[in-house]
Amino acid sequence: MSWLKRTLSSSSGRKWLVALSGLGLILFLVIHLLGNLQIFLPDESFNEYAHHLHDGLLIVIGDVGLLVLFPLHIGLVIWLARENRKARGATGYKAPMTATKQKRSFARVLASKTTLYIGLVLLVFVAIHVWQFRLHHSEIGNLRGAILETLANPMWAIFYVLGSLATGWHVFHGFQAAFRSLGFTHNRFTPALVNLGTALALLFAIGFSSIALWIVIAQPHI
């Protein structure tokens, strides 16, 4: 198994795993968003969905998948980031990092340089989010009611809007970068993947934050 160890400990191999785990997490986000958007339905459909989810196999696959993908993605990125930081050497540049000759948009360049730090923000966000709506609620019972109650508080609504925007920002750079790290580059399809990543980023940012905004503004009845 030494070839496997050599592959996965090399920076190229680690980038490959970070890309794969990242795409896995994006797949999870799509399913998560589709489930969450059912909260807009007026009757008991969200609670029924939550019960079906928790009684079925999907939750087990999701839990195991996330327990593998999350630590793998974060752990490997931290390992890479520590080496990347050392690679600059003891003396850094005096001139600011904002100098660039890139023709790409400002947002894209900024995203590529801040995705790592937004990832750390997301780590904190996810920890609070999972505690609040999963671990803290061992009884799913009326999950919809619990969500409506929590997000009616403007502080929590802002917290979730910021978390949604951070998720979008992370995916904005991460999605297309993942395909590049996996070795997929093509004159026609790479630009298409860049656009698809932007669409996914907007979908996550708007989709998830719309729930928090709807609850805090419209104050729907529990």
Partner: protein, 254 residues
């Protein structure tokens, strides 16, 4: 366009040797011709420093035609200065306004120790090349031209990568001081051609592993390297090398 002269303020990194401490020194230079190249402007500064009995600023240069890869330092945060697709020797002073303040720094990378002032030791690139950037063939006489048919599109694309002059701007521009653009360009041009196929995967693995061992960082896809590259080499080569690396390790069992 008629010649005119400008004044510039230069903030230059001065470091007497690799292990010595460095610091910025500020110099005022007047009467700089807008027709002069950036290096001619530095020659003028050095002449001034010599006549004042001071140490001239050390910087590397050779051809001054933008093709040798010797020159290069960071001007106000941009490797090779503010223009795309050029080396610092092909940058001209007409690009700057009179009174401009220019901060000159050497390439910053752990694997590129400063030798003196703006000069860095780039022998790490030689070590990456020695790890596999060649074809192992016994060459006798020159083979007949066109004895191996290669399509024009493949030859052109290979040349895009082969245009790399090994200046090190990609490393300097990268937030991770990664050598991936240099390494993958050297891997990529051989991977495009039939002569490069027998050692394609061993070469890819050996060169990327060597770059990592030398202390260069990994790729975060900020694409700063491509923007800084005087030959405008595409980041697609990094992606292709990445594919060949994993294929070499996993499928070919290297």
């Amino acid at each position: 366009m008629s010649e005119s002269t400008i004044s510039v303020t230069l903030e230059v990194w001065r470091q007497p040797g690799t292990d010595a401490a460095g610091r910025f020194e500020t110099y005022q230079l007047d009467g700089v011709s807008t027709d002069s190249s950036f290096l001619e402007m530095l020659d003028m500064l050095n002449q001034k420093l010599l006549t004042e009995g001071k140490e001239p600023v050390a910087f590397e240069h050779d051809c001054r035609e933008g093709i040798c890869g010797s020159c290069g330092f960071v001007i106000n945060g941009n490797p090779h200065g503010p223009d795309r697709g050029t080396t610092v020797c092909q940058l001209h002073m007409r690009r700057f306004k009179s009174g401009a303040k220019l901060t000159l720094e050497p390439w910053r990378a752990k694997a590129f120790p400063v030798l003196r002032d703006l000069m860095v030791d780039r022998s790490a690139f030689d070590k990456i090349m020695a790890a596999g950037g060649y074809n192992s063939v016994n060459v006798g006489n020159a083979p007949d031209a066109n004895s191996i048919p290669i399509g024009q599109d493949a030859a052109s694309e290979a040349f895009d990568a082969a245009a790399c002059i090994g200046c090190g701007a990609c490393v300097a521009a990268c937030k991770n001081a990664s050598a991936n653009l240099f390494t993958s360009a050297k891997i990529g041009h051989l991977a495009m051609l039939p002569q490069g196929q027998p050692e394609r995967y061993t070469r890819t693995v050996a060169m990327l592993d060597m770059a990592e061992d030398l202390g260069f960082g990994a790729c975060s896809w900020t694409q700063e390297c491509e923007a800084a590259c005087p030959k405008e080499i595409s980041v697609k080569w990094i992606s292709r090398a990445q594919r060949d690396y994993v294929k070499g390790r996993v499928v070919k069992g290297i």
